[in-house]
Amino acid sequence: MLAFIIRRFAQALFVVVAMVVIVFFGTNVVGDPVWMMVPGDATQEQVEEVRRAFGFDQPVYVQFFRFLADIAQGDFGRSYVHGGSAIRLILDRMPATLELAVVALIFAVIIGLPLGLFAGLKPDHPASRAIMAGSILGFSLPTFWVGLMLIMFFAVMLGWLPATGRGPVTTFLGIETSLHTLKGWQHIALPALNLALLKISLVIRLARSGTREASLQDYVKFARAKGLSPRRIVGVHILKNIMIPIVTVLGLEFGSLVAFSVVTETIFAWPGMGKLLLESIQRLDRPLVVAYVMVVVLLFVTINLIVDILYSALDPRVRLAGKSE
């Protein structure tokens, strides 16, 4: 177990370093961030001044060593655009993104699981076919497109839900959340649904194929031979088995939810870190991009770790020690 965690974090460290190097040198090749910082009517001397102030006049490797030296002192860089600690800026925005991703995940499960279960138990039922067709559609629809459609329909045309932004925020048990008010839920409903759409399809499919596979297994037949009620067979024997792949995949997909929030946050003006990343990329705000990569990779590694632990909790056959094979 401990070995496992060490392995995971060694990996994470490797990714972080690799990504940071790539991003650091990559952004440098792309363009000069100075042009994104100064106002449109900046004069040459202003530009040069800024360039000097930020050290862009130095060769990249000098900048990189400076960056490493700063890290050694616990300074992970300051945003060019915002000025503050880049990590801090990312972390400030993280709760909003995580909140969005978690709610999306919950949506995915509470919508996807029953539908998938149904489709798996009654594969030939017309409703099942409809569910599967819907899931293909859900798979295929580009997130950004759906996002706008949701806004058009629910916010602009029907006026039921707000189109943008996050509800009022409080800190509850040290976690910053907007979910304590109805307003918060109204705000999160559309973006979370948008983000969840793909995952709903995924859960439907996982649940369906899991159910179909599980229902063919001897243990289900044996359970029926024991005279168990269909409710118990589905609710305990099948469900517990399909939860294993679903939890695993969803756990891993949580990372992709966080990543896809870039799109959703942009459309719904959700104040999360995805939006910040996109803006930082466009503005070549290198410290922010680097910080984002560091934070997010660590986040993913942690999530993966949790998933693995959950997985072993769900599936007694798996022992973490043996996982590296």
Binding site: V29, V30, M132, L141, F144, Q282, V293
Partner: protein
Amino acid sequence: MSDVVATPRAKGEFARFVDRFLEDRVAVFGLGLITLIVLLAVFAPLIAPQNPYDLAKVDIMDSRQPPGSKSMDGFTMWLGSDGVGRDLWSGILYGLRISLMVGLLSGLIAATIGLCIGLIAAYFGGRIENVIMRIVDLQLSLPSVLVALILVALLGKGVDKIIIALIVVQWAYYARTVRGSALVERRKEYVEAARSLGLSHTRTMLKHILPNCLAPVIVIATVQTAHAISLEATLSFLGVGLPQTEPSLGVLISNGFQYMLSGKYWISFFPGVALLLTIVGINLVGDRLRDVLNPRLEK
């Protein structure tokens, strides 16, 4: 001795596979759709009334015309025109070419790379496998949008750049899948038989194991291609995808995006529909392939 064959199946495996595939009407529809779309894309220069990339042919006076309008050149723009006066139908046909090319080419290269790497990992095992699989894990632990986003931001715009980015985000899926099935195959006794018959590693790998790993590759290839096309569109929407001047479907959609609320729905809607049909078609086919090629669910 008079041996009676138990179940002589008259048809070859491939024919059976085709039969099974065609049983599902939805999948056939998907296949038809894809075929049609590919044909449209291939023959776009012959079909399209306008070369949307030829600026001598495109006129801003035609911009934002609703579906069915006549262009300055006299042809009817059945799907209307976009913000710079490009005939949308032509734009979509040419855009399909780019989107499909990006999707297929990146998928093909990624599949080839993934196939080789996965096969080597599974076959030789040990340290090689460990190293390869760690890299694959790393790659997979980072969501594809994110990697593509950062890569494209670093590489810059352009079809070649986006193909590279898409290869980078895809290969690991292939490698993992191939390794998974190659590991299963490797444990089968026919591999041992090949070893016992003194056949070389290369021969065993390529001739014996590889063909048995292709089924899942085909399945994920469809999914991945659809994903790649959609990802390209997403990147274009985020402004880091393909150049705007020779638009893929994603660029067309994203260009039309700003007109969504102003009632000029067609600029974004039709490319969106084209994208949707393409992806749905591929996914339908992929879905059926998954069912057909997965013997576990065979009744």
